[in-house]
Structures are given as structure tokens and as C-alpha cells.
Symmetry: C2
Subunit: 208 residues, 2 copies
DNA sequence: GTCTATAGGCGGATAGAC
DNA sequence: GTCTATCCGCCTATAGAC
């Protein structure tokens, strides 16, 4: 007798196989997208038989959802760096530059992260719940961190910390999207430091 | 005797049919993505037979590329509004607010534009040439317009007009992506005017 | 629990009639 | 030029052996 929605069945299935399937599925889905990924290739990548895949996951969609949720909640959750208690004692220019550089490094060095964002964006129409999970766990994470900083940093007297945080995150993420994901660096090149300097100059400025 | 790459063959094919195929293909590809779209459904949407589709376009990939190029170069090229000769005589607050509102209206009202961006972003790994076409014709368009404005507007003394233009466009487009494409407005709601006011305040400010 | 083998359908692409 | 009919491979999912 099975549960209505057995992501793993109630009888014991090998956790190693479950792990291998999630790992193999991740490779395939991140590389080829949802529709173009076949369960045959997932099974091969996971080094199990296709029937084993279907004994661990109800169907292709369930596997995809489980896998993306894991990436959202674990693997890519900490993109924007860990909290730093010393943060309010550091010059805003340094704090903001570090924040921007950590985010941009992620997009450039972890090539899987670009594919991950591509997948979330591309499937956000058919899998809105995964898009929302991405927003809750990743975008909102960065946003809250910056909001906290902008609200509590004494030197910055911003009239709207939340709007400023959106602008900062948006400028950074959009730069990554255009330059890296959409291959815009060949067409409209710009040093990342110019963007970051521009942002810092707009935000950290003597008020009249 | 046919050309090596006959997007349309050298003998006369009905232009009405070509148009119908492009239109039907657009509906299908924008709704379901590249891999999940079948040529059967394209033919049905275009109200022609599948063989006719293949007489006008070499294969699925050729149809997709022709179709996206057309959207990039025609349908969605003028998102960021037409040029305005009076622009330098208008207060920057008004100019920038209009620019931002036009872009955000496009993402909200023209529901096909969101699907179009989803498709470009999602397929930017497998079709980098289409991603570059998007950047050249749409992103760069908005960027240049703003660069021109920031460079020539007398009231704004920006130390780096290009970086500022990137920040402005990035904040707007990223807001649209998170709120609308990724359904973030349910999770982290924010009035668009707060974002726009924040941007204007950062950019149009008395310098010390 | 995991495998091999297979069912059953839909996919892209084409042959040949008109 | 456009159609109907069809080829054939790959797809998701499952049955049944071990």
C-alpha cells in the first residue's frame, strides 16, 4: 500500500540510489532543460536502470520538482555570502563591493549556477511553484541582507532602504544575466568594476 | 535545384502560408518552449499541413531561429519607446519615470513579451546567437537611449553615464523579472513607484 | 529493490498523389 | 505548392523475472 504522493515509497529504497538519481538528474536537467531531458539519460547518468528511477520518483515531473527544490533550498541558497557580524563596522564601500563581487563571482565561476537560473527562468511559466521557491530562498535572501544593512548602517541615510536594496540587487543580477547568460559581454562589454563603482557612487554619497 | 539553406525555397512559396506558419509557430513556441513544441501543433496552429511547414522551413530549428529573429528585429524592438526630440527640454524626473513606466507596462500588459523573454533566457544556452540578437536589438537599444540622455542632459552631472544607464535598465528589468516572470509579487510585493522613486532619487540629486 | 525487456504513443521528417 | 499517409526512432512508463 503506497502513499498518495510517494517521493520516496514507504518501503525502504536505497538512499544511495536516490542520491545518485538526484545527482544524475541534476546534470541532465541543468544541461538540457526540462522537456529535452529523457529519463533514459537520467538513468544512465545516475548509473541505475530506468525502472529504478521510477521506483524512487513517481514520474519525470516529480523528479524534476524534487531536484529543483533541493537545489533551491540547499546547493545555491548561500550564493550571496554568509552573514558577517563585523559588517556594520566596515566602510560601506567595502561592504557593498564585497557583496557585489561575491554575487558576480558565483555567476561566472560556478557554471552550473547560470544553467540553474536559465532553467528556473525558462520554466517559470510551467512550474510557477519552483519560480516562487527560487524567489523565496535566493532573491529574497539577498534582498533581506541588503535591507538589513541599508537600514542599520549609520553612514547611509537612505530615504527608502528597501527600494535601494532592490536597485542594488537588480543592477548586479541583470548585469550577470546580460553579460554572461545572454552572452552580452561580446556585444556590449563593460568591466564589472565600472558597474560596481557606479552603484557605490550613487548610494554612498554625501547628501546635500 | 535548391539553395543550400532555403529558409524560403527559390521557387515561389505562398507568402501567406509562410506568414501563417511563422504566426502559428510563434504561438506554440512562446507558449510551450522550444523542445516541448511539436511541428504537428505548429501546423495545426498555422492551419496548414505539416508537409507545408517543411516546404517553407528546412527543419524545426530553422523555423525557430527565423521566428525568434523576426520577433527580436520587429515585434519587440520598440519596447523602450520611440525617440523623443523634446527629451532634453523635459525635467529628468519626468523623462526617467516615463522610460521606466513604458518598460514595465510592456512586461505587464503584453503577456507575450514575458513569454518571449522566458524563451530567450531559457534557450540562451542552446541558441546563443538568438540571445546575442536579443541583446543587440533590445537591451542595447534601451541602454544606448539612456546613455545618450545621461550624457547630454545638462542637469545631471554623472561621472559615468554608461554605468548609470546599466544600473537604471538593470533595476527596471530585474524588477520585472522577479515580480512578473518569477511571480515574486505575491512573495515580496513592492509598488513599482517605490522602485522608480528610489532610482530617480539616486540619480537626480544635488551633488555636493 | 533492482534489473531487462517491452508496451504504446508521439516526435521529426519525407514520399508520392494531385 | 499543398495535401494525405507513412516511416522510424525515441519518449514515458510499466510488467515481470530475479
Amino acid at each position: 500500500m503506497r502513499q498518495a504522493k510517494p517521493e520516496r515509497a514507504d518501503r525502504q529504497l536505497s538512499l544511495e540510489k536516490t542520491e545518485a538519481i538526484l545527482e544524475g538528474g541534476m546534470q541532465e536537467f541543468l544541461t538540457h532543460g526540462y522537456a529535452a531531458t529523457s529519463m533514459d539519460r537520467v538513468a544512465i547518468a545516475a548509473k541505475v536502470s530506468k525502472a529504478t528511477v521510477y521506483s524512487h520518483f513517481q514520474d519525470k515531473e516529480s523528479l524534476f520538482i524534487a531536484l529543483i527544490r533541493r537545489l533551491v533550498e540547499q546547493k545555491f541558497q548561500s550564493i550571496f555570502g554568509a552573514a558577517d557580524d563585523q559588517i556594520l563596522q566596515t566602510a560601506p564601500q567595502i561592504v557593498l563591493r564585497n557583496f557585489a563581487n561575491r554575487a558576480l563571482d558565483m555567476g561566472i565561476n560556478e557554471s552550473q549556477f547560470l544553467n540553474f537560473m536559465r532553467l528556473i527562468l525558462g520554466e517559470s511559466g510551467r512550474f510557477p511553484q519552483l519560480a516562487r521557491a527560487f524567489v523565496s530562498n535566493i532573491e529574497q535572501n539577498a534582498f533581506r541582507r541588503l535591507c538589513y544593512y541599508f537600514t542599520n548602517c549609520p553612514q547611509l541615510k537612505l530615504s527608502d532602504a528597501e527600494a535601494t536594496a532592490r536597485i542594488f540587487v537588480g543592477a548586479i543580477v541583470h548585469f550577470m544575466i546580460v553579460q554572461e547568460m545572454l552572452h552580452g559581454k561580446d556585444i556590449m562589454p563593460m568591466e564589472r568594476d565600472r558597474l560596481i563603482d557606479g552603484l557605490i557612487e550613487l548610494i554612498v554619497k554625501e547628501r546635500s
